[in-house]
């Protein structure tokens, strides 16, 4: 089974001058060069020329491009120059990423807007990005000047020194000075961007997006999924390292049933007493329940959710006996003989055999004579079932027993 938890997330946009690496399929041939660098550990133009039969000048130009793309960097240690005084280059993290993903990201500088969230479902925070046109950058400059002017006019020193972006973004900006980072964009079809640099001031944009998420929690961690729907676009599914299974989530969102929730070979089950079940639940061994504002620790509160088919099972052997008896009566849907009744009982007991011994249960269930008597006593309640069990014996020329 699975549980689906949904909510709308808070989104903020942050705008700044950035350098972002964007996939360029036309540059795929550079993958080979990077792979060579990975094999050799370090690379100079000589290895490129030898491997690919290129001229020295061409090889040097390739290395320069790859350095510019932040896919290679000059070796920082004492072996940065080879025996022939040629520069040596190492693979960067971005370069390694390019090999693994077979994508060359080409840096582009410009004004970009990052849509972000502080929702705990998105530890990486960044959801999607937008390139901003020149007109916007003019507005940005105007906004920037106004903000700076306003901050100069404020008397409260704390106001003038207030950060314009959250701490996590500040940490990203700092870390980019050492190395670029790759981000998956869950609200942009899982596209990856290579965030190389965020330059200058970062300002919160008035622009925002409406994003709804559906957290699909499965029986196993590997089946957990986050579905992200951005505005009117389609839904994007993200495999999320959500650390809780269905059982864990159920224990949190229906805490009153903690002790009754069990994991079995056939999955999660809620153990119930027979008296707490209704007709539909008894027939289908499943319960539908609505949980109002379910809350998961560290992940917050979700919209009211309906769990359609929570498997249920008898809590005790007595419950199993009552349930089996009820099912037997329920399943008498046409004329029945002794043999037919035995088949029916076996079929019913099969529902409980995972935990209860069939033979043991069967001893406590009515035999055919007893069920006939029961349905005779309950004839007003079950007029047709009464006939189903008595007619075959009545409407025959010979009958067992003495009628006089």
């Amino acid at each position: 089974m699975e549980i689906i938890l949904e909510r709308k997330i808070q989104v903020k946009g942050y705008q700044a001058l950035m350098e972002i690496g964007i996939p360029n399929p036309e540059k795929q041939f550079y993958i080979g060069i990077l792979m060579l660098a990975d094999d050799e550990g370090q690379i100079s133009f000589r290895e490129i020329s030898d491997q690919f039969g290129l001229k020295e000048s061409m090889s040097k130009r390739i290395l320069a491009s790859l350095e510019q793309f932040r896919l290679l960097e000059k070796t920082r240690n004492n072996s940065s120059i080879d025996q022939d005084d040629n520069e040596k280059y190492d693979l960067t993290e971005s370069g390694r990423w390019a090999i693994e993903n077979e994508q060359i990201m080409i840096p582009q500088k410009g004004m970009y807007l990052l849509y972000t969230t502080e929702d705990p479902l998105f530890p990486a925070h960044i959801l999607s990005y937008e390139e901003q046109p020149d007109r916007v950058s003019d507005e940005f400059e105007a906004t920037k000047e106004r903000v700076i002017r306003d901050s100069k006019n404020r008397t409260d020193s704390r106001e003038t020194t207030k950060s314009r972006h959250p701490d996590w973004l500040g940490k990203i900006i700092t870390s980019l000075k050492k190395d670029s980072k790759i981000f998956d964009l869950p609200a942009q079809n899982n596209q990856e961007i290579h965030l190389i640099n965020i330059d200058g001031e970062v300002f919160e944009s008035p622009k925002t997006k409406s994003i709804r998420v559906s957290l699909v929690v499965g029986e196993e961690l590997s089946s957990n999924l986050l579905k992200v729907k951005s505005g009117n676009e389609g839904t994007n599914a993200v495999h999320l390292p959500f650390p809780l299974t269905v059982l864990d989530v159920l224990k949190q969102i229906i805490p009153e049933e903690r002790t009754n929730l069990k994991k079995t070979d056939s999955g999660v089950q809620l153990r119930v007493s027979f008296g707490d079940t209704d007709t539909h639940e008894r027939k289908f061994f499943a319960r539908a329940l609505t949980v109002s504002s379910p809350t998961i620790e560290k992940f917050g509160t979700f919209d009211t959710t309906k769990i359609e088919h929570l498997p249920i099972f008898p809590r005790t052997k007595s419950d199993a006996i009552e349930w089996a008896h009820w099912l037997i009566v329920e399943k008498i849907q046409y004329f029945l003989t002794e043999d037919g009744y035995q088949d029916l009982v076996s079929e019913v007991l099969g529902h409980f055999s995972s935990e209860y011994d069939e033979t043991d249960l069967k001893k406590k269930l009515p035999d055919f004579e007893k069920i006939k008597q029961e349905l005779t006593d309950r004839r007003e309640e079950f007029p047709i079932k009464y006939w189903y069990v008595t007619a075959p014996e009545f409407l025959t020329a010979t009958i067992a027993g003495d009628l006089s």
């Binding site: 037919g340 004839r379 047709i384 409407l395 025959t396 020329a397 009958i399 009628l403």
Partner: protein, 510 residues
């Protein structure tokens, strides 16, 4: 016209007799009873050693008899009836179900009933909707299965007891017939016969039923029960049921073995059926045959030859009972009509009778037949008929009921001839008289009495005498237009005929 002497005002007066007219095949009225029920208000209950025969009547004796049996039942009741109506009998069945007995019913659906109107007597057609409502009220308490062929009318009480009670009747389990609105009969069965009846019932329930009513308004297809093969017992009574028509065999055997007399009654007979052929064969070997039925086009077609060849065929609109008596020694009461629906296929039952039971049946049937107000005549003459006659026409759906009167007085508009000799030659033809009869739809007259004034043609005032001493009779003229011969006596009319003709004159009086 025969006329003499002085010419005076005349009236044509003639009676034309149509008594010899052949009406063809028709049912003529035998008495003044009309269409009322023949049964009296007191039921006839004949308790013989083997069984009881009951002729139901307005005192509800049959119903009360059966209700008492049902009220004393210990195990269950099985009932078959094509049509069933709410009343004391059905109330007793429901009470039995509510006190824990098993009550099972074989019957027809509303659609089956609507598809077989000829099987229902007058008044029963209107009860079809009530029948459906009753079944819906029974659903659950009474186990109901249906089939268009479930025509038999009988019941078995406590079928598994050492001495089960059974009865068979010729009427449906509807109130009016069970209170004697028709000629009907019910017979009780011996315990062995009741067991046979139960076997017949089981066959119908498990092998013939098409639909079952398990909840009000919900007719569902009957399904086979996997792995269940019920013991259907043994039926030794002549009957019609799936895979067997021993009833037809028994009837034909009775008829073919008849030596002296056959009396056979049914609601309907079918043309060219083996039963009819057996009756015709019996007739040809000198067996006296009396048939009693409800006058209908279908039965008339089937019986007309028999009557032509000497069988007595009587009719009553409510003759519903189906009985056979042969040589006053053997008999049969059955639920089947003498038709292929019922004898060749269907679901019917019969009880063979002997000795005292046959005698009792004979008394009952004779009383019915005496009070039958119709008799079939293959070639009746109009003179033979009194009152109403039902005329058979193959092309018509129903018999045509015609009132027959002894005479019709018809006064025609005056005859105004131009010349007196036309009066002497004047006569009214039979065709003319017949035409006057045809004006009255639904009526026939054994004779027609026609009267018609005759205007004697007179000499116009403007006419002037033509002097002619040689003329044997005075002659007048009206210019060049007309000439007139004036006479005084009828003899003169005859004498002046030639003269008038020669002169182109009309014979008139002054």
């Amino acid at each position: 016209m025969i006329v003499k002497g002085a010419i005076q005002q005349l009236t044509y007066d003639e009676r034309i007799d149509f008594g010899k007219d052949i009406l063809g095949s028709c049912w003529i009225q035998r008495s003044e009873i009309g269409d009322k029920a023949t049964a009296s208000l007191i039921s006839v209950l004949i308790k013989n050693p083997t069984r009881t025969l009951i002729v139901p009547s307005g005192d509800s004796a049959l119903i009360q008899y059966l209700v008492e049996k049902i009220n004393n039942a210990k195990e269950g009741i099985c009932l078959s009836s094509f049509l069933i109506q709410r009343g004391d009998l059905t109330n007793a069945l429901l009470a039995a179900a509510k006190r824990g007995l098993k009550v099972v019913l074989l019957t027809a659906t509303k659609e089956d009933l609507k598809a077989a109107p000829e099987e229902l007597i007058a008044g029963e057609q209107e009860k079809i909707e009530e029948h459906k409502e009753l079944l819906d009220s029974f659903a659950g308490h009474v186990l109901i299965r249906t089939c268009g062929g479930f025509h038999a009318k009988y019941g078995i009480i406590d079928p598994h007891s050492p001495a089960p009670f059974g009865w068979m009747m010729t009427c449906n389990a509807t109130v009016a017939p069970m209170k004697g609105s028709n000629n009907e009969i019910a017979v009780t069965l011996t315990p062995d016969e009741a067991k046979s009846l139960f076997a017949h019932f089981l066959k119908g329930f498990w092998e013939m039923a098409e639909l079952e009513l398990l909840a009000p308004g919900k007719l569902t297809q009957v399904r086979k029960i996997t792995g269940y093969d019920p013991d259907l017992g043994e039926n030794n009574l002549p009957s019609t049921v799936i895979g067997s028509n021993t009833l037809k065999e028994q009837i034909l055997s009775l008829l073919n073995d008849a030596k002296k007399s056959i009396t056979i009654t049914a609601w309907s007979f079918e043309e060219n059926h083996e039963v009819i052929r057996s009756l015709e064969a019996a007739l040809s070997r000198g067996v006296a045959i009396t048939v009693a039925t409800r006058p209908s086009v279908k039965s008339t077609k089937a019986l007309i030859n028999l009557q032509k060849n000497g069988a007595t065929v009587v009719g009553h609109p409510r003759y519903h009972a189906k009985c056979i008596i042969v040589d006053d020694a053997r008999g049969l009461v059955t639920t089947a009509n003498m038709t292929k629906d019922g004898l060749d296929s269907g679901f019917e039952m019969s009880i063979p009778l002997e000795k005292q039971d046959v005698k009792s049946l004979r008394e009952i049937v004779d009383k019915w037949n005496v009070s039958c107000n119709w008799e079939l005549k293959a070639e009746a003459r109009l003179a033979d008929v009194k009152g109403t006659v039902q005329i058979f026409d193959e092309k018509m759906k129903d018999l045509s009921k015609i009132e027959v009167f002894p005479t019709k007085d018809e006064v025609l508009s005056p005859f105004t001839p131009e010349s007196c000799e036309k009066i002497i030659a004047y006569t009214i033809s039979e065709d003319q008289a017949r035409r006057t009869m045809k004006k009255d739809i639904g009526k026939l007259y054994q004779s027609v009495h026609i009267q018609q004034k005759i205007q004697i043609p007179k000499l116009p005032k403007e006419a002037t005498e033509v002097k002619d001493e040689k003329a044997p009779f005075p002659i007048y003229s009206l210019g060049k237009k007309a000439k007139f011969v004036v006479v005084n006596t009828w003899e003169d009319v005859i004498s002046s005929k030639d003269y008038a003709a020669k002169n182109g004159a009309r014979i008139v009086v002054k």
